[in-house]
Symmetry: C2
Subunit: 139 residues, 2 copies
DNA sequence: CTATATGCAAATGCTTTGCAAATCC
DNA sequence: GGATTTGCAAAGCATTTGCATATAG
């Protein structure tokens, strides 16, 4: 999605368009792989030295609630990664050593999830699928 | 697995069998659903009031490294759940409100994970699949 | 005995929150 | 001008760690 479309979306929802928000969107758009909050901070600070980490978190959360961004939960206490929603359901291949996350183009889920949810009286809300391994660099 | 078999396993690996360890195994064995570390603590304290949370964590981690237990990572910062390894690959259905986790008897993964890993030069180590939803109690 | 395990307290890392000052519309 | 955002500082969780003491084998 283009940056101005995203900006427009925020405005429509009644959010103010601050330079910090623009800068965060910019970083998300330019990142080759979904960055962690701290990585967003570091990159935003190159152009916007005074932004704070909590502002980054607040905005990443806001974008997520808006459905504009997704969270990739890593294992244990590791910091989550954030990616702009691409409008296409997908999952990730994550390196256990360096944490790099690669988008996959398939979802392994079939009807059995619906059946299982029904069987246990659950209303299904979604699912998480993450493949873990070691990338070529981390061997 | 029976408790004494587990105890035996620890001994074989050179770990000492302390009353705390026995109590933790007991709680894991008796839990209807995979407990969080804090839940383990509360339950162990019923019979063993002086155990500390860090001992619980240390032992849950030890059991996990040993392959005797598995960790179920919940979303965001939510505390992980621990279950004894049942020797059978499976996944979970987790309630987003109360956090209850139900073991499922299927794995949706097919060969595409291997293909994807290969394509990106990854050595596959495993995967996480969790279905999320709301249980009948939480609506 | 001696290495391992425990309890305590404090530290860590990620993320959130309260509040006064700044700023977008 | 008025509500929303920001930065700061501090708090909140889950989890880990250092260290002196206790304990299993």
């Amino acid at each position: 999605m283009e940056k101005e479309i995203l900006v427009q979306k925020l405005r429509e929802k009644g959010y103010k368009v601050t330079p910090q928000r623009r800068a965060i969107l910019e970083v998300l758009l330019q990142s080759k792989q979904p960055p962690k909050a701290l990585e967003v901070l570091v990159n935003v600070r190159k152009n916007f030295p005074d932004i704070s980490l909590d502002t980054v978190y607040r905005n990443l959360n806001m974008l997520t609630e808006l459905g504009v961004a997704n969270v990739i939960n890593l294992r244990g206490g590791e910091a989550s990664r954030f990616e702009l929603e691409r409008g296409q359901h997908h999952h990730h291949l994550v390196c256990l050593k360096c944490g790099i996350a690669i988008c996959l183009d398939f979802c392994p889920m079939d009807d059995r999830d619906v059946a299982a949810a029904e069987k246990h009286g659950f209303v299904l809300a979604g699912h998480v699928v993450e493949l873990y391994g070691y990338c070529s660099r981390c061997g």
